[in-house]
Amino acid sequence: MGDILYLILALVLIVVLAAGGLLVGLRRRGRPGADVSSVDAAGVDEALPTVEPEAEAAPVLERPEPVQGRLVRLRARLAGSQSTLGRGLLSLLSRDRVDDDTWQEIEDTLLTSDLGVEPTQELVGRLRAQVRVEGVGSDARARAILRDELIAMLDPDLDRALHLRRTDAKPGVALVVGVNGSGKTTTVAKIARVLVAEDSDVVLGAADTFRAAAVDQLKTWGDRVGVHTVRGAEGGDPASVAYDAVQTGIEREADAVLIDTAGRLHTKTGLMDELGKVKRVVEKLARVGEVLLVLDATTGQNGLQQARVFAEVVDVTGIALTKLDGTAKGGIVVAVQRELGVPVKLVGLGEGADDLAPFEPEAFVDALLGESSLT
């Protein structure tokens, strides 16, 4: 039968070619009812978001910290873990003579932050041009050049606000998606805390009906800040849970509804279809204002592929970069931003409940380059 396979492959090829050429592209989305394979894989699927909620169960409602300036507050953590990137670059650039070897080192430093080959080469090219034209001269000058270029890489003009306001008497809806183990559930909980801190009424939808602990995990988080969590049966249809959550949000006149989904590898067509369905079903009730892709900061170049596929299926509007407090640098988001135009909106900088910060390019770069900035 091994031989037959070759025939099949050939057929596949031909069929693909034939089908591919058949019709010229029209609408893109909308494949109904393909939520297969979810049930039989239930409970096995887990590579698990792992950032832990703290164990203490506070009976009194917690008051999350205000959002303003979180990134600045977390700067130390960022600068501490990423000193190699920012300071390394800076010390290289402010050498008396920047020769080819130094440029090579600069390139290496950027590469080790998962920035990717192309963005790295481009950045190095631009830095080189700048230095050649203007010269470096002083530390302050080097810092200014580096700061400008890094900020330019991060494209500060992108809209990074979370669009989760109540509009047309309907709550703003956010869908949180990502691969297994990236930290979706925790991120949903942390966003809820951010919103609560801003005096929004929030409803959580635990549409991760896949993983045993996910629903309880989310509920625990919700209870701590007095947020209602809508849950469904384990192994149930995630789209129906999401629908219920939005329905509940509308009835309660909530400001925002956050929907947690099960982790899925972007290569699983069936599961991606299921995700598309969740979004379509929710859209019957209210517009989905935000689709946040949760990316683990340790992810390498595959992050781009993930983002591309998720964007195709559910139109990702923003990225939440998690686990940035390890040694990882999350350089892949630069590539993702450039390629797909999807901005990083949130960064997760620790396991604490309020360690999720809005992403601000300037503050972020300043943190990378260490203190005493703003030349």
């Binding site: 591919g20 183990g181 170049q301 390890g326």
Partner: protein, 527 residues
């Protein structure tokens, strides 16, 4: 989708074709490309550097090979180096002379330890052992629960005296687990621990404490195939913190190139022992260094594609389809066409399937521009036809067309297009099924004349599986190159059957390396 190393090198060497020996500048240019390819595959930079140095040395001293062009020569070297780092032979688990054998799992958060524990246990059970799982991850909420659930699915005993969720002493649990296993005569104990960051000293200490308490025979480091440059730092942290004897690569079912495997193996000198590639408990196997090498180089992954096709396609159905194609031209109907399309759909996105075929670089843009949803639309059109129309599309006249178009919500012209294309495609398929000329597929088929133009040596190897061997392990690109060479040759009008003649001797089979689609297929694509 990034260009593969092979494509890159082919471009670099275009001007050099015919040159016998690699000059130093050639090697430098090549190394640059290899460097980029490896970095894009997430191989850590320090590893890339050392690797390149090694390749350079070998390439400079390499014998001039009459059979290989420079690009192939370099690729061959690169591939061999890769395989040697990844470990030529996969190491087997060491079992304790006095049971129970203790296996400790450690890794980052979210790398997939708990799931892996169950998979490993299941695998051990298949090998005739009686494993027991110990739930020593008391940190993550419901990790204990999860282990119990997956343990049940794997039908393995789970030792979980503590409910977890942040309370309890995992060291005591681990120790208790080993005692329990000794008492209940389980011969292998798999200890699942909490995920931890390499920089978290406290958690690393805990892992070390567990290690000291149970003195494991094997400590396995579980690492996510998607991890980037951080792999080196993490691997070092774990090696210093807990120490490990082997590596397990998880989430290989994604499309990450998995350069991390190379980084970790190179930096720590520990071998990758197992690979986990799916959500089912059975998606677990020993690691194949040769396949991983091809994957890292992005050289197309025919083996994976074949395996996936094997899983997706029903052999009987396939045989039936094959028979139809070899029969009268009208035997292959729109229904069959639809069925093929739908089955293929299950294999994943089209661009991914194409990505697995080697040497598709030329067509990459076209592939990218294929709209996957068009398949659904074609499906809709076919489903709007009556059974008799599907059996014989020739009867579709103007009014039938209008009806079909209305039924499937498309323009009449699209229905026309589909019918025309179907005839064209069918003609081609029949021609190929009968006479070969399609690279990659072919002969050896029962009743199919013409041997296997696309296969060369592999064709012979392929006869064996029929008699029971189910997995083909040859990921060796030298062989693949051969295959491609054969394909090319076949395309250049080698009469069917002749291809069987070569292939035994690897040197002369490796002459050419471009895999190209036959012209008619490219035309079809272009339309």
């Amino acid at each position: 989708m990034f260009a593969t190393l092979q494509d890159r090198l082919e471009t670099t060497f275009k001007s050099l074709r015919g040159k016998g020996r690699l000059s130093e500048s050639d090697i430098d240019a090549t190394c640059r490309e290899i460097r980029i390819a490896l970095l894009e595959a997430d191989v850590a930079l320090p590893v890339v550097k050392q690797f390149i140095a090694a390749v350079k040395e070998r390439a400079a001293g390499a014998e001039v090979s009459g059979a290989l062009n420079p690009a192939q020569q370099v690729i061959k070297i690169v591939n061999e180096e890769l395989i040697s780092i990844l470990g030529g032979e996969t190491r087997r688990l060491r079992f304790a002379s006095k049971p129970p054998t203790v296996i400790l799992l450690a890794g980052l958060q979210g790398s997939g330890k708990t799931t892996l524990a169950a998979k490993l246990a299941r695998w051990l059970q298949e090998q005739g052992h009686t494993p027991m799982l110990v739930a020593a991850d008391l940190q993550r909420p419901n990790a204990v629960n999860q282990l119990q659930v997956v343990g049940e699915q794997a039908e393995v005993t789970v030792y979980a005296p503590e409910p977890g969720n942040g309370v309890g002493d995992s060291v005591a649990v681990a120790r208790g687990g080993v005692e329990e296993a000794r008492r209940t005569l389980h011969d292998v104990v798999v200890v699942d621990t909490a995920g931890r960051l390499g920089v978290d000293a406290e958690m690393m200490q805990q892992a070390a404490d567990i290690r000291d308490a149970v003195s494991p025979d094997e400590t396995l480091f579980v690492v996510d195939a998607m991890i980037g440059q951080d792999a080196v730092t993490t691997a070092h942290a774990f090696l210093d913190g807990v120490g490990f004897d082997g590596v397990v690569l998880t989430k290989l079912d994604g499309d990450a190139r998995g350069g991390a495997a190379l980084s970790v193996a190179h930096v720590t000198g520990r071998q990758v022992m197992f690979a986990s590639s799916g959500e089912m408990l059975t998606d677990f196997d020993v690691f194949h260094p040769d396949r991983m090498a091809s994957r890292i180089l992005g050289m197309g992954d025919m083996l994976t594609l074949i395996e996936r096709a094997e899983k997706t396609f029903d052999a009987e159905e396939a045989a039936k389809t094959a028979a139809k194609l070899q029969g009268k031209e009208g035997d292959f109907t729109l229904d069959d066409f639809l069925q093929q399309m739908q089955t293929m759909r299950k294999m994943g996105s089209l661009s991914k399937i194409f990505g697995m075929l080697p040497g598709m670089a030329e067509m990459r843009d076209q592939i990218e521009s294929i709209d996957e949803k068009e398949i659904d639309r074609v499906g809709a059109i076919i489903q709007s036809m009556t059974p008799s129309e599907r059996d014989d599309p020739k009867i579709i006249d103007g009014s039938r067309r209008a009806r079909i178009a209305r039924g499937s919500g498309v323009e009449v012209s699209e229905v026309n297009g589909l019918v025309d294309r179907f005839f064209e495609a069918r003609k081609m398929m029949v021609a190929m099924a009968k006479g070969g000329g399609m690279p990659g597929m072919s002969g050896g088929m029962p009743g199919m004349p013409g041997g296997m133009p696309g296969m060369g040596k592999r064709a012979k190897a392929r006869q064996a599986p029929k008699k029971g061997r189910t997995k083909r392990r040859s990921g060796n690109p030298a062989k693949r190159a051969q295959q491609e060479a054969a394909a090319k040759q076949a395309e250049q009008s080698t009469p069917p059957g002749a291809a069987f003649g070569f292939g035994g001797d690897s040197a002369d089979a490796e002459e050419a390396a471009d895999f190209e689609l036959p012209k008619e297929m490219r035309d079809l694509m272009g339309k």
